[in-house]
């Protein structure tokens, strides 16, 4: 037995130190022509930064999936700082480097708006999942749709996914899912980090989801005046959606412009926005979903009429959570409390924490149930 343990330990040490570099591949989220970060077949990740004059380089992990940071790099003789971590969880993870204490991007990574800034990100492949892969199926377009908000007095930009065939079928109209990002992110997050367009392309190609339009706006819509008046982010966004965005989308795209063909969903902060706005406007939405957020809004106290009434008019209330998310226990409690209150809803849970891989799975599950 002792020999076996020694042999196993030796194998691990050898694998960790001598793994042939050619088995590790540059991440798909790298900018073209860069060798690092590299992902090993066992999902370890190697980072490298050339910084001969730096005295300290650390990895700042900005997603649970990469483990706890900051983690020190080691400098080699050529002035490269190297670090291998993991195995890490599959999916998309934000990260940054700390160069002599300053949080900066990895110059080798594409950037992804999260944490209130353009952050580095890494896509770690999941061998057993392909629902968000770019496949050889018909693809919808993502439109960067500029419009003017009269109430905010500013121009806004929504990302709008139109399903495959939208341009060819010139009279067909489609249902719409309004889909919100989380705190510190932007209207670009659901397609760039979340691959929402690819998830829908694949579902539609497989006949598992109805062709639909996705509208992804920026959840921050607080004007200077709103700020002074103490209007919350959620209320400001509600005003934008209910008074301007829906009207703009319905007049710009071939939508089915009624509540039974309109859904709203979001993740984290966006989950709160979706549930708040969805239940405030029972005349606008029949399908409401929160992913890793917003569940607390359903913790209805006796006598609270509005949301309870709105819930009766819904075709679907959908709630999703990662089981390792800090908010999971409280959300489960709300979910269980909804049963005796006879509030029908779908509860979805999956492994993972507060991370994009969970939200991709949420969208995959949710989209199959919408507009049926």
């Amino acid at each position: 037995v002792t020999l076996r343990v020694l042999a196993a330990a030796l194998t691990i040490v050898l694998a960790a130190t001598c793994w042939p570099a050619q088995d590790a591949l540059p991440a798909s989220t790298n900018v073209p022509g860069t060798d690092y970060p590299r992902i090993h077949p066992d999902r370890r990740v190697s980072f490298r930064l050339k910084a001969p004059a730096a005295t300290s380089v650390k990895l700042q992990t900005l997603s649970d999936g990469l483990g706890k940071g900051p983690i020190d790099f080691k400098r080699d003789e050529a002035g490269n700082w190297n670090l291998t971590i993991g195995p890490v969880r599959p999916g998309f993870h934000y990260y940054a480097f700390l160069v002599d204490g300053v949080q900066v991007n990895d110059p080798a990574s594409e950037t992804f708006f999260g944490w209130g800034r353009e952050s580095s990100g890494i896509e770690v492949p999941a061998k057993d999942l392909d629902f968000y892969d770019l496949k050889d199926v018909p693809h919808g377009d993502v439109h960067i749709h500029a419009y003017r908000s009269g109430s905010l007095g500013t121009f806004r930009s929504a990302y709008v996914y139109t399903p495959p065939g939208y341009d060819a079928n010139r009279s067909k109209r489609y249902p719409v899912l309004y889909l919100q990002h989380g705190a510190g992110e932007s209207e670009r997050a659901w397609t760039k980090q979340g691959k929402a367009n690819l998830i829908l392309d694949n579902l539609i190609a497989a006949g598992k989801a109805k062709p639909m339009i996705l509208v992804m706006e920026n959840g921050y819509a607080t004007s200077v005046r709103d700020n002074r008046a103490g209007i919350s982010i959620r209320e400001a966004f509600d005003k934008l959606v209910s008074q301007e965005l829906i009207w703009n989308i319905d007049s710009s795209y071939r939508t089915l412009a009624d509540k039974d063909n309109r859904a709203i969903a979001g993740l984290s902060m966006g989950g709160g926005e979706a549930i708040y706005t969805g239940l405030k406007h029972a005349d606008l939405f029949s399908w409401v979903a929160g992913m890793s957020g917003g569940t607390q809004l359903l913790d209805l106290v006796p006598g609270e009429a509005g949301r309870a009434v709105a819930l009766r008019f819904l075709k679907l209330l959908w709630l999703g959570y990662g089981t390792e998310d800090g908010g999971y226990p409280a959300a489960v409690k709300v979910h269980r409390d909804l049963e005796p209150k006879h509030v029908p809803h779908v509860w979805f849970e999956t492994s993972g924490s507060h991370e994009w891989q969970v939200w991709r799975k949420c969208l995959y599950e949710l989209a199959q149930r919408l507009f049926r």
Copy 2:
């Protein structure tokens, strides 16, 4: 006179040292909620980076318009590194920070793909120009159009601008301008750095340009096999455009699918790609333009038949250059040599060097002449 000079000098010194900070505004290219970089009314720019542990911070100017770098920041007692430069030229400029010798992004800036990586960028307003401003006119959509290239065996993504009214006028067909970025940039550059969509929105609203579709692809289309065979970037891109992209666009969008309604233009490396492909396929393009690039391809030697013949079939050969561009003198020579060869063309020159402000002006001029 001496007193006047002294007074003027004093005013300048006072303005430079005591200019009230509240007159300087955060750049439009900053991420939301950031105070720096700030642009002063006289177009000086102040940068700031909090980096208490760094021993050196410098500005790496990646555009002529910001002057020559690197330029040293000064550390204050709070650990902020500060630098004010300029006045700088109006327009869009790439930049980076050097933190203890490592080139990194300014965390306060949006990112723009240039120099082969996600770079920081700053938009410096031009008081006398508004042709690329976001105005209250009808806006076209920018589509992120995914498609599969059979020859490359990879998925590609083109940015496609459809003019205002494209969705409402369901039978109208439009001419197409293929528009290429420069070296180290990507298909996102013409809309993000160049504001091509806003330039077209404004021109179309003013009745100065025909409504048209813009197709912006990535000028790097060299496969691994091409690389091994020594196929140049230009030839690889030509193959993609002439054999796949045009067909894909004509079958995905409501185009006028003939040579008289198809133009190709590009800047710098993309100017070479545009002139090469435009003149190689006289059957595909009637309108060809090079901005700050590609002019050398027109330096036809006696006996060179192909391009000379192709030129006769063009409706427009358009060449534009910034007068401070390093390539300007050679380009002017080619332009002058074309006259005695009886090659009709339009020559456009404007102040500025190898920078986006020149290319915005080029597009503004060019678009007004196309498809007439």
